[in-house]
Symmetry: C2
Amino acid sequence: MSAAKTAITPTRHEDFPEWYQQVIKAADLAENSETRGCMVIKPWGYGIWELIQKQLDVRFKETGHQNAYFPLLIPLSYLEKEAEHAEGFATECAVVTHHRLEAVKDPVTGKTKMIPSGELAEPYVIRPTSETIIGAAFARWVQSYRDLPLLINQWANVMRWEMRPRLFLRTAEFLWQEGHTAHENKEEAIVETEMIHRLYEAFARDHLAIPVVPGEKTENERFPGADMTLTIEAMVQDKKAIQAGTSHYLGQNFSKAQNISFTSREGEKEFAHTTSWGVSTRLIGTLIMAHSDDDGLVLPPRVATQQVVIIPVTPKDDSKEAVLAACDALAEKLRKKTSYHGDAIRVHVDKRDVSGKKWEWVKKGAPIRVEIGPRDIESRKVCVQRRDRGANEKDFMDKEEFLQTVPNLLQDIHDTLLARAQEFRDANITACTSLEEFHSHWANDNPGWLATPWAGSPEEEDELSKKHKITIRCMPIKDAGLPKDLLSAATGACFLTGKQSSPVAIWGRSY
Amino acid sequence: MSAAKTAITPTRHEDFPEWYQQVIKAADLAENSETRGCMVIKPWGYGIWELIQKQLDVRFKETGHQNAYFPLLIPLSYLEKEAEHAEGFATECAVVTHHRLEAVKDPVTGKTKMIPSGELAEPYVIRPTSETIIGAAFARWVQSYRDLPLLINQWANVMRWEMRPRLFLRTAEFLWQEGHTAHENKEEAIVETEMIHRLYEAFARDHLAIPVVPGEKTENERFPGADMTLTIEAMVQDKKAIQAGTSHYLGQNFSKAQNISFTSREGEKEFAHTTSWGVSTRLIGTLIMAHSDDDGLVLPPRVATQQVVIIPVTPKDDSKEAVLAACDALAEKLRKKTSYHGDAIRVHVDKRDVSGKKWEWVKKGAPIRVEIGPRDIESRKVCVQRRDRGANEKDFMDKEEFLQTVPNLLQDIHDTLLARAQEFRDANITACTSLEEFHSHWANDNPGWLATPWAGSPEEEDELSKKHKITIRCMPIKDAGLPKDLLSAATGACFLTGKQSSPVAIWGRSY
């Protein structure tokens, strides 16, 4: 059987990691830079991030959060305050030790070279996350229970010196938002942590068409310094997991280390209960791996910089002007329409005089492509192609009909991507209640996830994880949206310890 | 004569720099952090930046630019490539030399301490500006004239180790946008540089109500590595100048250093002509110093997070509910109205149960305050106060009339601030054609600017600058908007060299 020619080589099936790199390259999303592990996010990739930012920001503000900005550099002494936290990030911190450069002449070559100069008395760390520096500000701002809750978000770059960087998924520098909140008591802090967790889940589903599994991390997998870490876990097309967003209840660990204290309603001095939560440019890597195909990127409509791309077909010079005018007229009408998600439809007319435009937009993942040629002007038809269908499937539609149905078409593309991803996910999570099956499962190629009843200790979890290069992705929350039959098959006696009525754990390989 | 009590101590007249700090504190805009020279931008201050970002971003996109993102860290070897550029920033670079931390036990105290570890073979510099790292990407992206013009913008944080930091105006880390473009030839690059220069001027005038003077920097004051630097210069209330935004034509200096070359229309290898341009959180410092008064911050309406603040007056419990409902109803109606600048009006109802709310909003600079009390409900009146007028000036308006006039009121506040700033500026620029007058002028307190005919050499400029702690702020462009009589009085023979028909230079002290 000869394979159909695809726009991306290799295919997902042939070599998934290399396919991922090639999709990014073909869609012109990002590239590696000469700064170790750091990427350049190109306009088509950054446009996705801008939309994610804008849409999430609205949700954060609706839920009472305000944006602020805190220093990039953290004094080393701040990081040391919370021991577990410091230890967790110690091996991946970029450290600033000098504050100027000095020109020196190389005695051998005679060339002038710049060397670090002006050593700092106390080095700084480039924020890997900002709990410590934001906590120091909170300690100043919070005096009384009247100052609580304090609900702050920051859009920023952070840096973690990753040993094996991969574009979007794991880069030394990445862009993210980090929410930081302080509350009077544990209950309110937990409500916040869970509210954001569900907000992230809904965002992944409704904006990125990714059916994540919401759950709690085990102690082994928690954020360094947290009492509870909630996560949304996405399954991508090689059946690996991606941790796509986390929400942490930090207890009083940071508030005690940094003295975020307040006078309570009863007049007592108390320490605040804090939370932190974040999503990053990793979401872009996740959506690429979740939806794209062997012809390139497939963008969920809501985060597509251009939702409809109109390509004029101009075989003859004498009809060119009329075709371009028809394309512009259609674009103008489309821009006045509201999409299913309430924003204006984003339309681009690609008038460049180059060949291969159609395939360029296939590879860039534009949700809808429209071609208009000389004959279509008379017939008032347009040729419509959907990115969620085969690259050569066409639908000739009456122009007016197309205008009317575009919002629904976009919605339908979103729904199709979501349903497809959900079907794939559910087909690739297997319930497992026996240790023997558990061990043998991971010998498969692309083994998918296991759902098991689990009551083992952190040490037992660690042993199994190391043996099979897996982790517990999460303990799904009650209303996680997993198939009922899967959950009931995965509940019962722990497959390792035999303990009755154990909760369900999801195991998998991950990025 | 006893002075009226003001909300800010000291007043502008008593101590301008300290007044500035106190305005920032009273409005809760920002504060110093323990990271040397770095500030925390608090929500009320960050909100201004968000609006500046959003509004500028629309203008950049309208003029064909796309956003992208480049690494925070610049390899030292990149910076070295353009010698003048490297030298210009060498004394203020934060340098990353290590990529991990190691825990060591202090032999004396027995305590565990973190020390830098994992020394890098090549250190990195935290970007003070990104010409070099973006240039390296441009060198990869540009191959043919068809790839030009390349029009890129980045929203980012940058770092310059300032010796005398001052909130917003001069901080070690600041937020900005930096545009970077590459063109086929000098003409197109100059058109871009000038277009952005006028865009900045219009933005300062129409969004920030600041009547800047657009002009060209002299060679002494150019950006390191530029062939031409255009600037917008603002005069603030102590008559000093603030460089509020610059636009540089970089010639082929960076393209030659970094090999941004392309095959021209004629098939020849040529080096691109590049530009760069930026504005930063410094704009916030500028607008504070330009408009605020002895009662605190005065916000130009377009960048006010809340344009109308409604304060319920609830002296009695039995009418409280009705007053709050009336406030909410008014807010809802206002939110449906469009302001003079095309956006929805931003309204806040301050329902907090604390005293002193009115003065809080005076100090925070909300353009319009509205009070509604029990009696106003029956009379259908509202008590309206404008921030550009005295804090106790009131206008009782019919509620319907108020609703109708709010857009005009906001426009009028903007126009008033702009006219006031322009009148102040024009009254404080003096034409000067004699060397004697020039020398004596700078002995005055808060001397204001001088406009002179100037044809001196860079060395002569440097000597005068050092002697009086002044600089040439700019050589105003033709259509700079300065008073005609000032310009004609300041044209003629150079006050130093006597050279005839010399162009006008603006001299001043600056931040």
